[in-house]
Symmetry: C2
Subunit: 332 residues, 2 copies
């Protein structure tokens, strides 16, 4: 049965019935004109929205419906994590071609739901609209953060170290592998099902270990550029220190592509980047004691030379590559 | 210059720079990974999301970009009003064809901004994504409501009167007029620029005048059906009492269409419907003293016969017509 056969109203009811029971702080859940939520006392509200579009952020040839649902929520949880916010709720807006099978939409919802469940996120409402164009999955996520515990892009100061979580480059190599016909491996999983670094972001804010943070949705080079600009700093990165995913580095070396440049420019890793004061080692250790995975790597330093963005490779200085624009699967 | 020429990042920065300064409760505004807001103490959070899609909810032949921006926010403020929530903030997700002119996107933003400004709503974040398909404007709106002051669809009881705000049928007649080549008049303005009934909804909740509410996004018949079903009631509507917009009634009579059936089935008026206890006249007068416009009309009563939905026309009983599905401008 297709979406057009069932109709949007019936489909929405069916999807919402698949959701787990919302948490006690949800006073009015899905199915009314809006949802009503009880905020945690004295916490600040953190909200973000991000859409994934067929042909731009994913291709049905490379991702299952469940992958798409996972990714649509993951990119939003990653934004909350970059603000050090604990995710609480999400709203789902589906712009759906009538030709989609209802079973596929249910799988998309299950992928989103499973990730929501792992982080205690209640899906509190949704909306379905028909389209003659490509699928759009637009998620808004809300979270909470303690007073003055949030992290922004603008808090870095000259002298702060640059740290990055996990490994980089895997998602960018993954999309190349998918285009080359591969179907499995770490890079491909990372491209299909990025893991938002929720616990790490929250711990960094709560323990006041970082001064600034940003997620790597558009790549490490873009994040370095944005945080430096917002903070009025420059940045100097040690090209040899980058935690490039070994599978990605091997893939690029096999194609005579420089792994450092490719990993800096490649997006969609959804790791986090932090500015951490040089004398903040104690607080940083408290964070890593609580959140051991993913590991953190020091990759550089913010400098006082606003606008000067340098990659140092064994003493050779290069300009930081430009940022990443999302792959268009259809157009190349 | 087109959107493709400028690029999404530069366009987003440009749009956000056009926004008025956000209110003091916005601790981190647009331009970071997420927005941070200070909730009003002891208030509940109310959130909703709704998208408008080119070819489904609007046509560029019939609406200016500013109309589209207005409507995309208005439909969300209407949902908050139906919950009796005061709107506070909005997030905008634009899924944008590369061929759009930047000037048109700026006009869309100005239409949205002007409505936001009138109701004290801060646009706290946004996101732009490319698409090869039609324009999608997805807005999430957040508001606040006092403890136990919100209104749902499920609070009506047998014996409560049914009241509706303003006039009905204008937006549905308006889309027919646009298709017939007309360009002006009340019905057409209503179709292009619906006015969310924010003050009325908030007053109804605050003064405890209503027991249930819903907005008329999908038409009066649909709202009656949904509130009756959610409340376990039936409903009996006086077909002669409906406040049909005179211009719409005249349009339909001129085409041998029954105005009562057309106005019941037609959607997109974004008026509000309430269930009000028979003995609640004093509280209702307090509301109308504070919010004189739009006027309210009593149109029927909720009954104990669950599922029985009747329109009484001079003693002739008819079944309530089915709900409304959004017009597809392209497909007919």
């Amino acid at each position: 049965m297709t979406v057009a056969d069932l109709g949007e109203h019936a489909l929405l009811a069916r999807l919402l019935s698949r959701l787990p029971r919302p948490s006690g702080s949800v006073l009015v859940g899905p199915g009314d004109d809006a949802a009503v939520l009880a905020p945690v006392r004295n916490e600040r509200l953190v909200v973000t929205t991000d859409a994934v579009v067929e042909g731009v952020h994913f291709s049905r040839a490379f991702s299952t419906p469940a992958d798409i649902g996972h990714k649509a929520l993951a990119v939003n949880l990653s934004d909350l994590a970059a603000m050090a916010a604990t995710p609480r709720w999400a709203l789902l807006s589906l712009v759906l071609p009538g030709s989609w099978l209802v079973a596929d939409v249910e799988n998309l919802m299950d992928g989103l739901s499973a990730l929501a469940g792992r982080y205690g996120v209640s899906v509190v409402g949704g909306n379905i609209t028909r389209t003659d164009g490509p699928l759009v999955v637009d998620v808004t996520a809300g979270g909470e953060v303690g007073s003055r515990r949030w992290l922004t892009r603008s808090g870095a100061r000259a002298g702060d170290d640059v740290w990055v979580s996990g490994t980089i480059g895997a998602a960018a190599a993954g999309v190349e592998m998918l285009r080359a016909g591969l179907t499995e491996g770490l890079c491909i999983s990372r491209q299909r099902r990025p893991e938002p670094r929720v616990r790490l972001g929250v711990a960094m804010g709560r323990m006041r270990a970082a001064r600034a943070a940003m997620d790597l949705s558009d790549g490490l080079a873009d994040a370095l550029r944005q945080v430096a600009a917002a903070s009025g700093c420059g940045v100097r990165v040690d090209g040899n220190a980058l935690p490039i995913a070994p599978e990605a580095a091997e893939w690029w070396r096999g194609r005579s592509v420089d792994p450092v440049s490719a990993a800096l420019a490649g997006g969609e890793d959804y790791e986090l980047m932090f500015a951490i004061p040089k004398r903040g080692g104690g607080r940083l250790r408290n964070v890593t004691k609580q959140v051991a995975d993913p590991p953190l790597t020091k990759i550089g330093v913010f400098t006082k030379d606003a606008g000067v963005l340098i990659v140092d490779r064994d003493g050779r200085e290069e300009a930081l590559p430009r940022g990443f624009e999302h792959f268009s699967y259809e157009n190349r």
